[in-house]
Amino acid sequence: MRRAYDLAIVGAGPAGMAAAMEARRLGLDVLVVDEQVAPGGQIWRGVEEAVRERRAAGLGSDYLAGAEPVETFRAAGADYWPEAIVWHVEDGFRVTVSRRGAVHTFAAHRLILATGAMERPMPVPGWTLPGVMSVGALQILLKTPGAAPTGPVVLAGTGPLVLALANQLLAAGARPAAILDTRPPGRALRALPLLPAALASAGLVARGLAMIARLRLARIPMLNGVSAVEAVGDTQLEGVAFTHRGQRKTLQAAILALHDGIVPNIHLSAALGCAHDWDEDQACFHPRVDAYGDTSLAGVAIVGDAASIQGVAAARHSGCLAAVQAACALGRISEQERDRHCAGALRALRRARAIRPLLDRIYAPTVRHEAIPDHVILCRCEEVTAGDIRAAVRLGAHGPRQVKSYTRAGMGPCQGRMCGLTVSRLIAAEAGIPPEEVGYPRARFPLKPVTVAELAAAGDTGPA
C-alpha cells in the first residue's frame, strides 16, 4: 500500500478546500476525498460548470465567488478523489471509501472532517409526499444541471436560505407562488439588541436587506407569522395548507420547499466517537472543537459547517487554522510559527462569526416539537410517527438508542440522518429532559448501506 498521507480531508467544500490549500502551502502530503463530482461543497456546487455555461450570475455573487477557490484548489497539488464516499474509518487512520463501484482504503496520520451541514429536517403533516423537498434541494437543481421548477412553488419555513432561493428562482424566471415565513411574530424585534455586534459583518446584513427588497419589488407574496403548515395531496403534492392571521388558507403547489435552518452533519463525527455538545442558540448537536478545530479525538479536526454553522467566510478560516495545526502536530512547523501563522486567521474568524448571534436569534428554528401532531411521520425510512415516539418515551425510552429499539426509528437506509435530531428533541420535549442529557443517536460504521461485495473488498489497498 501507498505510504500514509500526512493529512486526509473529507469534504471539498469551502472549509475542506481552504484546509487543503493551506496544508499544501506548508508542504504537507494531502488527500482530499469528496462525495460530489466536483469541488465546491453545496454552496458552490457545480460552479465550474455553471460559469462555463454562463448561468452563474443568476445564482448570486456568493455563488460566483466560489469559482476562484475551486480553481486554486485544483492547482494546489493535493491528491483529490471526487465521487468517493467514506464509509469506514479506523484508528491510525485507515479510511475506506467506495468510488465508482470500487472500494479503496488509504492511510493518513491526521484527519480533517469538512463534511458540512444538512438541512434541519422540518416534519410537517404530509412532508413525505413526492413534490415536498428542502429549499436546498431546489438550489441544488438550479446549480446542477440548471433546472428550474415549472409549476407553482411555495416556500415555507425560515432562514437566510429561503430568501436566497427565492431570489435565485426569480432570476431563473420561476417566480415563487408565495413565501410562508413561519417565525412567530415579534422575533425580529427581540433580535435588535444583537444588531450592533452583527454590524461587523455589515456586508452580509446589507445583502440580506437587498434580497428582501428585490422580492418586494417583484411582488412575491410574503406572509409572516404562518403556522401549522401542511402538505396536501393524494399520491403527490397538490397544495399547501397553513394558518395565517387566525385563518386556515390553502395554496395550489407542485413543489413545497421547506427550510428551518441548517445544522452540522454529525454522522461521521458521531460514528468516530467524537464528543458532541448541545448548542442552545442553534438548537442542534455539534462536535466539541477548540480554536483549531481539534476534537476530543487525537488527530481528528472538524472544520466549517460540520463543526458549527458560521457561514462560508468562517468556514474558510477554520479550514486554514486546522491545516496549520496539523502541520504543527506533524512537527513541520514550531508552535511559535503556528501562532504567528494563525494570528490573522483567528482574528478574521472572529469577525466572520460576528453576525451569527443575530442570525441565530432571528432565524431560530420554528418547528415546535411538542406541537408536532401525533400522526406526522418523523422517521421517514421506517414511517415512525411522532405519536409512536411519544408512546415509547412514556414507556420509559428516554434516549435515542432506546427509542430506536422500541420503534425502529433510525434503522432505515438513511441511518438516522433525517430523524436523529428530531427524535432527540421530541424525547426532550416529551420527557422533560434537557436535550444535552437526552443525547444524540450514535451512528455506526458502515456509514452508508454497502453491499457484501464492498465489505469483502475493504482492506485491499491500492491507488484509486
Partner: protein, 90 residues
C-alpha cells in the same frame, strides 16, 4: 415539473425500459423530475410513493436501481446507455 436552463447536451439513457434523453452532467433524480416523475419508489413499510427530498445524498428517498445496482438517484450522474429502474416499474 422542472425545465432546463442551459443548452441541451443529450445523453441517451433507459428508464424502466423506455428511452429518454438526459442532460449531460445531471443526476438521475434531476432527469426524473424533469420528466414529471417526482416519485421513484414505494416506501418499504406502507407502499406509499416516495421521491427525492434533499437532493444531496442524506435522505435516501431517491433509491433506484442503476445498471443492476441500488443507488441514490441524486448522487448518480447520467451516463450514455445507463439502465435505470425505478421502484414503480411494472
Amino acid at each position: 415539473m422542472f425545465r432546463l436552463l442551459p443548452q441541451p447536451e443529450p445523453v441517451p439513457v433507459t428508464i424502466d425500459g423506455r428511452s429518454h434523453l438526459a442532460q449531460r452532467g445531471e443526476t438521475v433524480a434531476s432527469l426524473l423530475l424533469r420528466l414529471d416523475q417526482p416519485s421513484m419508489r414505494r416506501s418499504a413499510v406502507s407502499g406509499a410513493l416516495r421521491g427525492p427530498y434533499c437532493m444531496m445524498g442524506v435522505c435516501y428517498e431517491c433509491l433506484v436501481e442503476i445498471d443492476g445496482r441500488p443507488a441514490q438517484a441524486c448522487m448518480s450522474r447520467v451516463a450514455e446507455g445507463m439502465n435505470i429502474r425505478t421502484g414503480l416499474a411494472p
